[in-house]
């Protein structure tokens, strides 16, 4: 057995069933070893960044660690954006990179790059393997680190000579023992008691839920706590699909691009309970102001999040699922929040009843998304890109009991299509929809090849406004002097692009035909592209 075979054997021990990758000279031994194991599926991406996004989509719906594998040098540097995207959204991922022979390291030979050095700021950990006998231990540790505590990407860089080195005795360790890595799980009982008391005492409590709730698989516990104590819930972009839109306690998304009612609830609350969120700038614009005005509780698995952006009065560190269960076990006396809920209900009603503008010859994204959401399966996965399409979808797509996946932290354009491929690989039968703009679609439309190869029935909604909409919107406000470099001139004929991959398409520019077109789109067999013509001047504040 050589190092490459030990690597694949270790991946099998971790129940890896799919790898997203791109082969190259220095990863050839590992690819060769993979060939012997058809039980591990393989998707060839068209650029390495998307291997990261596919692994991310796969990880987010399956709850397993996503795996990508690329070659050294440009393969590794192309993957960097995928790793950084995963890091900012705390996605469990193991990235494997080939490396030049260890004897040549540091000499700038062909396709050499210091990838462990390059990813240090945005990876949870990384390894440069120097002895093939260490591979089983390193893989075991990498999967453990990637998936426990606050999840994140871990990179394993393996020089080609190490992949070819003989491994005398393969032994996969049962347990991991890293003295510097012991994530907290249970919440401190004294703090739990303080939280319970603060909830009972409050009059206008609100829960702010983020992506950490999904990562901890704590949706059920969160909803139960909210329902038992009648606490309204607002969400960050990463937590958006935690609650169905129609849930009486759901107040939508907060932030600069959020729902008005959610921001109002945050501004008027007397107790803010943050669960699995870092309260970054896009969600909480002025954390100092919030701290001054209300009591705050911060529940997070990462102790470094406590006090980073916001100094909470009661910090509570541990696994979100375990902590919420600890709180549920206390049978908290529900606060007297009837008047508060009544007031919020009016705000929410106004928001949901919002009338969208109409323009002849165009469709408005909010109108499309409202209708689309109503027609989707209860557990549909929607992968949304970055730009106006992201804001519109997060604000207006009605949620049921599915998932909304987006690059919330890094805001990486081109995320949606490859992430949806990852979703389909993990859960082929789940209805999966991509929402993107004509800017973001062009960043990853080469991955239609993966869709075609696997015959995936992805449904792609493309808002075509022929401009980088959100930047255009920013450039039209002070201190800037008008749009520049945002017109998407030279964009291809999208139906022709789709057709070139054997994918049919539909185009809609008339809101009266929306229902019928959406039904045909969603009812079509296999993959389908729906082009929605949007006026270039449309703003997310319309």
């Amino acid at each position: 057995m050589n190092g490459a075979q030990a690597l694949i054997e270790s991946l099998l021990q971790e129940q890896v069933d799919h790898i997203f990758g791109y082969a190259g000279a220095t990863i050839c031994p590992a690819v060769d070893a993979l060939k012997e194991h058809p039980e591990i599926g393989y998707t060839l991406v068209r650029t390495e960044q998307n291997a990261g996004h596919m692994a991310s989509g796969y990880a987010r719906v399956s709850g397993k660690v996503g795996v990508c594998m690329v070659t050294s040098g440009p393969g590794a540097t192309n993957l960097i954006t995928g790793i950084a995207t995963a890091y900012m959204d705390s996605i469990p991922m193991v990235a494997i990179t080939g490396q030049v022979p260890s004897s040549q390291l540091g000499r700038d030979i062909f396709q050499e790059v210091d990838i462990t050095g390059a990813v240090a700021p945005f990876s949870k950990h990384s390894y440069l393997v120097k002895d093939a006998n260490e591979i089983p231990r390193i893989v075991k540790e990498a999967f453990h680190i990637a998936s426990t505590g606050r999840p994140g990407p871990v990179l394993i860089d393996i020089p080609i000579d190490i992949q070819n080195q003989e491994v005398k005795h393969f032994h996969y360790p049962e347990e991991v023992n890293i003295r510097g890595y012991k994530p907290s799980v249970k919440g401190n009982e004294l703090q739990i008691k303080r939280v319970a008391e603060a909830i009972s005492r409050s009059k206008q409590p609100v829960i702010l839920a983020g992506g950490g709730v999904w990562l901890a698989n704590a949706r059920t516990e969160l909803l139960e706590l909210a329902e038992r104590c009648s606490i309204p819930v607002i969400k960050t972009m990463m937590g958006i699909s935690l609650m169905p839109t129609g849930h009486p306690l759901n107040l939508g998304m907060i932030g600069a691009h959020g729902n008005h009612c959610a921001n109002k609830a945050l501004a008027k609350a007397d107790l803010l309970i943050m669960v699995g969120t870092r309260a970054a700038d896009r969600a909480v614009i002025d954390p100092g102001e919030i701290q001054r005005r209300m009591a705050t509780i911060h529940i997070d698995v990462d102790p470094a999040e406590i006090g980073k952006n916001m100094q909470a009065a009661i910090p509570l560190v541990g696994d979100v699922k375990v902590i919420l269960q600890q709180l549920l076990d206390r049978n908290i006396t529900p606060p007297d929040s009837a008047a508060w809920l009544e007031r919020l209900r009016d705000y929410r009603k106004a928001e949901l009843g919002r009338v969208f503008p109409k323009r002849e010859g165009y469709v408005f994204p909010g109108t499309v998304l409202r209708k689309l959401g109503a027609k989707l399966a209860d557990d549909a996965a929607v992968c949304v890109d970055v730009g106006q399409n992201q804001i519109f979808t997060c604000k207006y797509l009605p949620q049921k009991n599915g998932r909304l996946l987006t690059s919330g932290g890094l805001g990486t354009m081109g995320y949606a299509l490859p992430a949806a491929v990852g979703v389909k690989v993990a859960q082929p039968d789940r209805q999966t929809v991509v929402v993107c703009g004509d800017g973001s679609f062009q960043m990853s439309m080469n991955e239609l090849a993966a869709v075609k190869c696997a015959g995936m029935d992805l449904k792609i909604v493309l808002f075509q406004n022929q401009v980088l909409g959100l930047v255009n919107q920013i450039q039209r406000t002070a201190p800037y002097h008008g749009p520049f470099g945002v017109a998407l001139d030279g964009s291809p004929d999208f139906p022709a692009i789709a057709a070139a991959y054997g994918i049919p398409s539909l185009t809609v520019s008339d809101e009266d035909k929306l229902d019928e077109t959406l039904d045909r789109f969603l009812g079509s067999e296999g993959c389908c592209l729906l082009i929605c013509r949007v006026h270039p001047d449309v703003s997310t504040t319309d």
Partner: protein, 161 residues
């Protein structure tokens, strides 16, 4: 305010890179940093001095703790640790000035390591403040070279971090 952070880390290649990288990307400023192996050859101790407020130091501690190779982090209480720095200083010296320099060395407890017709090289291990004083006293004689190690520190008493 200057604060001393003592960090125990795995004695492995690349660890120092991770620590310093963390400081630069989180915009924490390092005043001094000293590394050396402990009595356990698999563990190194890094002593870092930062000049920041308490909330920044708390965040530094938490971020350091997140690094997988970091085993323990402790901000040392100002009054309860021994912190020392080593300085080697070379100064111009001739028959006229040599005696004056020697007097200062005696007062400050510095040791002469090397002598030449035109120079004196001395070492002094003490607190950073006293090293500063010594350096200031030497300045009129024209300093040729200074090397300082950065502070290393341990807690007083029987405890350990």
């Amino acid at each position: 305010m200057k604060q001393t952070i003592s960090v125990l880390v795995e004695n492995q290649a690349g660890v120092l890179n991770r620590i310093t990288g963390l400081f630069s990307r989180r915009a924490f400023n390092i005043e001094s940093l000293a590394v050396g192996v402990t009595d356990d050859p698999t563990i190194s101790r890094i002593t870092i001095i930062v000049d920041s407020g308490n909330s920044v130091v708390e965040q530094v501690e938490k971020q350091l703790n997140k690094l997988v190779e970091v085993i323990k982090v402790r901000t040392l209480d100002e009054n309860t640790f021994i912190g020392r720095e080593l300085m080697i200083l070379k100064v111009n010296a001739n028959n006229k000035t040599r005696q004056d320099i020697m007097t200062i060395c005696e007062i400050m407890g510095a040791k002469v390591d090397d002598i030449s017709p035109t120079s004196l090289t001395m070492e002094l291990s003490d607190t950073p403040d006293r090293l500063d004083t010594f350096q200031a006293m030497m300045r009129p004689f024209s300093i040729l070279e200074v090397a300082r190690t950065g502070v290393i520190a341990v807690q007083k008493g029987g405890g350990k971090i």
